[in-house]
C-alpha cells in the first residue's frame, strides 16, 4: 500500500495536519504566528547546513529551528520588542540560509522543494519521521493540555496553581520546532505557518471549548491535506500551495457558517 506515492503523500499530509492542529490553536491563542514564521524561516539555514554536512534534512532543520525557537523564547522575557526581534532573526536566518545554500554545489534546484514542499516525493522513511514527530507532539500536548491552557489564559493564574508558565512556553516552542522540521517535505518552509494557523482559525467560529477547537482544527487540516492533494493531482497544481488553498477555502466556509450560527442563536 505504501508503495503508491499518492498514499504516502496523503498519509504525510494527514500526519502533519494532526500535529499542527492543536499546536496551531496555541499559536493563535497566544498570538505566536510570527514566532512560527521565525522558526520556519530559520529552518532554511538548517537545511543548508545539513546538505553541507551530509546530515538528514530533518536533523539539520530541527536543530536550527530549536535553537531559533529557544533563543526567541528566552529573549522574549527580557523586555525586547517582540515583533522587531523576530523580524530581525527570522529574515536574517532566512537570508543566511539562502546565501549558505548558494555555496553548495548542485542544490540550487532543490531549494524550491524546501520552500514550497515536495509532498509527492515523500519516501517511506520520511513518512516514518513525520508520523513519529507528529505522534510525539500530539502526545506531549495531550499530556500537558491543562497546564498549557492555564498558562495561556494567564501566567499568574498558572503560577498560583503551581504551574511554571515559562516551562509550558518552552514545551510549545519545542513542539513548534518539531512540527516545522517534519512539515518541510509536505508544505515547505514558507507555508508551514499556514498549516498551523488556517485550520485553527477556521475551527474557531465552530467551537465553544478549547478542546473542540483543537479537534475540529485537526479534522479540517486533514481534510485540507486530502482535498489539496486531490486537487493537485487532477489540475496538476503545486501540491503544498494547493493544500493551503483548500485550507483557506475551509476558513471562509467556517467564517460564514459561524456568522450564520451566531445570527440564529
Amino acid at each position: 500500500m505504501l508503495d503508491d506515492f499518492l498514499i504516502r503523500a496523503t498519509l504525510a499530509g494527514i500526519g502533519v495536519a494532526l500535529a499542527a492542529a492543536p499546536l496551531g490553536c496555541f499559536v493563535v491563542w497566544r498570538r505566536m504566528a510570527y514566532f512560527g514564521d521565525a522558526t520556519s524561516h530559520a529552518a532554511i539555514l538548517g537545511i543548508a547546513l545539513s546538505l553541507a554536512l551530509s546530515l538528514s534534512v530533518f536533523t539539520g532543520a530541527l536543530a536550527v529551528a530549536l535553537i531559533m525557537a529557544v533563543t526567541v523564547s528566552v529573549l522574549s522575557g527580557k523586555g525586547y520588542a517582540m515583533d522587531t526581534l523576530l523580524g530581525v532573526m527570522a529574515h536574517s536566518a532566512l537570508a543566511l540560509g539562502l546565501v549558505a545554500v548558494s555555496f553548495l554545489q548542485g542544490v540550487r534546484l532543490d531549494l524550491m522543494a524546501y520552500l514550497f514542499g515536495d509532498i509527492l516525493a515523500v519516501s517511506k522513511s520520511d513518512l516514518a519521521v513525520i508520523w513519529i514527530g507528529a505522534a510525539l507532539v500530539v502526545a506531549l500536548m495531550v499530556a500537558r493540555w491543562s497546564a498549557l491552557l492555564t498558562s495561556t489564559l494567564n501566567a499568574d493564574l498558572a503560577n498560583a496553581s503551581g504551574i511554571d508558565p515559562r516551562r509550558e512556553q518552552m514545551i510549545l516552542t519545542v513542539c513548534l520546532a518539531v512540527v516545522v522540521a517534519v512539515a518541510i517535505k509536505v508544505v515547505g518552509v514558507l507555508l508551514i505557518v499556514a498549516m498551523l494557523i488556517i485550520p485553527a482559525a477556521a475551527a474557531r467560529p465552530l467551537s465553544r471549548t478549547p478542546e473542540s477547537m483543537a479537534v475540529i482544527a485537526a479534522i479540517l487540516g486533514a481534510l485540507a491535506a486530502v482535498l489539496g492533494l486531490r486537487m493537485s493531482y487532477i489540475y496538476d497544481t503545486p501540491t503544498g500551495p494547493s493544500i493551503v488553498c483548500v485550507a483557506a477555502g475551509l476558513f471562509i466556509i467556517g467564517l460564514i457558517s459561524g456568522r450564520f450560527r451566531a445570527s440564529t442563536d
Binding site: 493563535v28 491563542w29 498570538r31 523586555g79 491543562s146 497546564a147 491552557l149 492555564t150 495561556t152 489564559l153 494567564n154 501566567a155 499568574d156 493564574l157 498558572a158 503560577n159 498560583a160 496553581s161 503551581g162 504551574i163 482559525a201 474557531r204 467551537s207 465553544r208 471549548t209 478549547p210 473542540s212 477547537m213
Partner: protein, 246 residues
Amino acid sequence: MSLIETQNMTVAMGGHIALRQVDFHINSGEIVTIVGPNGSGKSTLLKALIGAVKPQTGKVTRQPKLRIGYVPQKLHIDPTLPITVQRFLSLPIRRSKQDIDSVLDRVGANDLHDKQMFALSGGQFQRVLLARALLEKPQLLILDEPTTGLDQPGSAALYRLIEELRTDLGAAVLMVSHELHVVMSASDRVICLNGHVCCHGAPDIVASAPEYRALFGTGTHGALALYRHDHDHSHDHDDHEGCTHA
C-alpha cells in the same frame, strides 16, 4: 502562627529592585489591604506571596499545605480562545459539576455556566474569577485590585461579597485596592507600600500617619486620602521624603 509571612524580603523585577526589605504577615480570618501608588510594588508583593517571583534576599514562609485562592488583576481572555465559564473553572484541576454549581451560586453567577468567558461583563468576570478562587477552598484569598473596571455599585457589591465570604469560609483576605474609602471601612489592617513598607496598622492609624498623607495627601488635594483627622492637618509633607520612591 501566620498563614504566610515574609522576612526582610527584597524582590527584583526586570533588573531593578521593586520591593525592599519587606516584613509582612497575615493571620487567619484577617482582612488586610495593601495601598500605594502605581509602581509601588503592590502586585509584586502578591506575586512573591503566591510564589510567582522568587525574592532576591529574605524569605517567604507559608504554613504547610496552605490553600490560596488567587484572583489576578486584569485577566484578558482573547476572543480567539473559546472557553465556557464551566470549562474555565475546571482549569487546571477538573472540578465536579456539583462543586462548580455551588461556587457559581455562592458568588451570584449561576446563570453564567455556559457563557463564553470573553463575552462576560466586567462584574460577571470578577465573580467568575472569585468563584474559581473559591474552588480551592482557600484559607487565604488574595485579590489584586478586584474592582478594576467596575462601576461604584458593582464594586460595592463585590466588596460586600468578599466580606461575606470571609465570614463564611473563615478565610483571611489580602487585597490590593485603590478605593481608599472602602479600604478604610472594610480592612482590619492596612499596609501602605511604596517600594518598601511606609506604614502599616489599623486603618485609623495609617490614615493619620504622615507617610500615608505624604503619598496620598499631596497632589490629590485630599481627593484620594481619607481625612479623618483634617483638624490636625498641620504636617509639612516635605518632612516625609523617607517614603518617596528611591
